[in-house]
Subunit: 208 residues, 2 copies
């Protein structure tokens, strides 16, 4: 197996935290997203969508989304489970992933990619040009702020995001929270439950 | 268990096709999205995000996303599996769901909700007002067209979307294709593989 990644970016980081927690080592190949390597012929053969992470199996099969890569590896390496073992816990992890993607990650990406000069005509990931829509920055920020408030409500009486145990949903949320801070939308100080949860999860992370 | 739904809408329909294929009957409660029932106090208690489908378990636990509801029911009712049984097939279904949501369903919803008068100040699902951004209609259509072409490429040499067997990914894609037709972005005639696949999957659907 080989993992195509670009370690500093949010979606690759989700897989990296998962691997680190489980103690799995997979050969990695960095794809320099800042230098445009994802659009080069070599990487496009692996993933025509030009995104990372991508897990390439020994027979050439590729898996292209963080949640799918993590599920596949969870089945192969069941130690230190991060989807729980009960159907309900697993369903909650998948539900949270869908929610987090549409209500937090994509809006944060909208805010970044529709404003920053570096993403001119690349407002959406992929090889085809997509023009920026500056109004999407404000909408993205509004939605990120709503997500922060909703997360704080959600954490009332909960130690973890998806139930009574640590799951991938906690790591994924941590990655998204760091991403929202990067676009200058940190979690407001008064959302104390989010801050307490963040410290709790960060303390569990393996070093590095 | 009880399923909150609004049968004519895409995400509820994903769950409905899944249930029909497996022959599962679950008591349903229609939530009239056109009449705004999703914002009423009764439904908001079940799902503060004000979206359907929602599966409510007997102990009051709720699951709020189509992919999570289907996974939970697949584990409870394993007959006529729609996620395959191998880790790789399951991972492909999850991967396709993530791709389909971000590259087809949400762009189609953007095109609809940012133009249509009925969605004024409701450009994003949920209880908080979000103003329309008319430019998103064109971007949404551009992305839907890109998705149609990509799907046609993807189906080269494939009978089913996520591998060599029928899975939820086929039903989900069918629902999204019907949704894109509804916003007047039907699949172009020349994308013959998509049309052949669509006829194949439609022929498998239970009546009704």
């Amino acid at each position: 197996m080989k993992l195509y990644t670009f370690d500093s970016e949010p979606n690759p980081r989700r897989v990296n935290l998962f691997l680190a927690w489980k103690g799995i080592e997979i050969p990695k190949q960095q794809v320099d997203l800042r230098g445009g390597e994802q659009f080069g012929a070599a990487f496009r053969t692996a993933n025509p969508r030009c995104t990372v992470p991508v897990l390439e199996l020994d027979d050439g099969t590729v898996l292209c989304d963080a949640i799918a890569i993590c599920w596949y590896l969870e089945r192969l390496f069941p130690q230190r489970p991060l989807f729980g073992s009960e159907p309900l816990t697993q369903a909650r992890v998948f539900s949270w992933d869908a929610y987090l993607t549409s209500e937090a990650f994509l809006p944060a990406a909208d805010a970044l990619r529709n404003r920053h000069e570096a993403f001119k005509d690349r407002a959406v990931p992929g090889p085809e040009p997509v023009a920026q829509i500056p109004e999407l920055e404000a909408r993205g920020r509004q939605r990120v702020q709503r997500f922060h408030r909703h997360l704080d409500d959600h954490l009332e009486g909960r130690e973890y995001v998806a139930g009574d145990q640590l799951t991938l949903a906690d790591f994924d949320t941590l990655v998204v929270i760091d991403f929202t801070a990067r676009i200058k939308e940190p979690v407001p100080v008064e959302l104390a439950r989010v801050h307490a949860w963040y410290r709790r999860i960060t303390a569990l992370l393996p070093p590095g």
